[in-house]
Point group: C2
Chain length 198, copies 2
């Protein structure tokens, strides 16, 4: 059966984003290179893991990952990714504020889901069919899926930095065993995928 997975780049102390997220700093006060240098500056060493991130039939994300707009949709924000986002499939954005779907180039359509994570997952599974569903982030959204027992696989990409502040993976997630699936060491990151044990 298709699985629900999540990829998070985290610092050694578990932070997946900094505090103070804003339009000119999607990851807030945390130097984005501390999280993502492995993807962009060491792409050849990490090709398989980068490709796996987007290998789903549908994506779910939190509103803060989609953009800096808070409250009602008072501007025509269309994501951080330009006219042709890298998803190429339906993306379900969790929000409290309704908005009509936004169709982008290349097959990405942003749908705005106001009735909770279970419903978002239902809709994502429907359109994904046999393919997996990705919960793209941010950490708070991933933690909500983990806490609700809705995630099958969490792939951590651990970088060699201490962030000291921000939003942490696993915060609010109840105690539980995980199953380490495989570990791959690459410059400069340690890929540790976990399967969630039911």
């Amino acid at each position: 059966m298709a699985k629900v997975y999540s990829d998070l780049s985290v610092t050694a102390d578990g932070y997946a984003t900094g505090i103070g997220q804003r339009e000119d700093a999607p990851f807030g006060d945390l130097d984005e290179r501390w999280l993502h240098a492995w993807m962009f500056e060491h792409e050849a060493d990490n090709r398989a893991e980068v490709a796996a991130i987007l290998d789903s039939g549908a994506t779910i994300m939190g509103r803060n990952m989609f953009g800096p707009v808070r409250g009602p949709w008072d501007r025509d924000w269309r994501g951080w990714w330009g006219p042709n986002p890298p998803y190429h499939h339906p993306v379900f954005v969790l929000t409290h504020h309704p908005r009509d779907p936004v169709e982008m180039e290349g097959g990405t359509v942003f749908h705005f889901v106001t009735d909770g994570i279970e419903r978002a997952l239902e809709r994502a599974r429907e359109v994904a069919g046999d393919r997996d569903v990705s919960v793209a982030g941010g950490p708070r959204t991933v933690n909500r899926f983990l806490a609700a027992g809705l995630l099958d696989e969490l792939r951590l990409h651990v970088t060699p930095f201490v962030a000291g502040a921000g939003e942490r993976v696993f915060d609010g997630v109840p105690p539980q065993a995980l199953e380490r699936v495989a570990v791959r060491v690459a410059p400069p990151v340690t890929h540790i995928p976990y399967r969630v044990v039911r």
Copy 2:
């Protein structure tokens, strides 16, 4: 030059001990097997890492790692480790309450240091000579050494569990880059040693 190192077994969410530490539960409400099964139930797979933990000429530890006594030393507590502790060298216990040294079998002598971590490190270096100094724990003590820039190497042993609460490695440690030295994957733990970059 001899280095100052620390080994910490931590859960996937970074906890090295639970809350509610007490005499019958040295790691508090955190199931100790979640931290240490790799050492005790999978010893053959992790022999090198286990041996390295104790390969120092002197050890420093926080008072909570030494025992459950709080405040003045109103009982003759001699550690959790029985009459012949595994250290076989001087152990410097950080405390606010003076106490005469306690000599154990096998070469371990517990010294009680009331004048701070720098002084404890000075004394440990003196007796260790050419050998390394270990900061054994708990996490709060390791974090103090990290924050003060006194640690050369932090070896994390990451276990596949979510603890959800307790004392976390890196809490209170300022943002900084680390250098990943090597990673070894063994059942059921991921050994990730970091060198502290100055």
